[in-house]
């Protein structure tokens, strides 16, 4: 079975400071990892993904995430937060080797990021 955990329901950071949103995962095989962002009353927007290769993945809006296999983590980061980054962030995982319904994305519970002016 695959699972993903976002240990923080809420993260607050001051504008201009670096931000980190944490994500850990559990899969049997190799993980495919995704980050999505959701603004109020909107659908999810794809930010970035890790499939293979370089552990540091760069995505939209200046976000990046680092895949750490030994710690089974895929934390989302941004060097300098903007007030407009305030939103709900979801980490998601798929196991490369699964089939059928298990091939579907498993989402974390979400982390509400608030960037304070």
């Amino acid at each position: 079975a695959q699972s993903v955990a976002q240990p923080e329901d809420q993260v607050n950071v001051a504008e201009g400071n670096p931000l980190t949103v944490k994500c850990t995962y559990s899969v049997s095989g190799n993980p495919y990892l995704f980050w999505y962002v959701q603004y109020p009353n909107r659908g999810l927007q794809f930010l970035l993904k890790y499939i293979t290769g370089d552990n540091l993945v760069k995505g939209s809006y200046g976000f990046e995430a680092e895949f750490n296999k030994s710690q089974t983590s895929f934390h989302l980061k941004k060097p300098s937060a903007l007030v407009s980054d305030s939103a709900l962030y979801f980490c998601a995982v798929r196991d490369e080797r699964t089939s059928g319904s298990a091939r579907q994305l498993t989402f974390g519970s979400g982390t509400q990021l608030t960037v304070l002016p």
Partner: protein, 114 residues
């Protein structure tokens, strides 16, 4: 711009009155998904289509049905909405069913049941 479109954005229905939500895509993606999302929780997959192949999640209630008449359109039918079905319903697409493909979401339809 290629996109996923959901109509209506807000839908109010009465308890027990059938309702249909629609989704269309201009991405020409093979896979379309319907998710239910409550109160900023993680989206819950209801079912998905790979082309015309329908795949129902095991815990999706029979009250929820779906149709995909062509590549571009997909519908969610709720036969007898209950108060517990009030939620945001998200449509998503992906290019293919491989596990590496990201999903593209529509803006959602917020369903209220009175």
């Amino acid at each position: 711009d290629a996109m996923v479109i959901q109509n209506p954005r807000y839908q109010v229905t009465q308890f027990g009155k059938p309702v249909t939500l629609s989704c269309s895509q201009t991405l020409n993606h093979n896979v379309m998904y319907w998710y239910q999302q409550k109160s900023s929780q993680a989206p819950k997959l209801l079912f998905h289509y790979y082309d015309k192949d329908f795949n129902n999640e095991a815990d999706t209630p029979d009250n929820f049905q779906s149709r995909r008449p062509n590549t571009s359109f997909c519908f969610l039918d709720i036969r007898s909405p209950g108060l517990g079905d009030a939620a945001m319903y998200l449509c998503a697409t992906s290019r293919d069913k491989g596990t590496a493909y990201e999903q593209y979401f529509g803006p959602g339809t917020r369903l209220t049941v009175t």
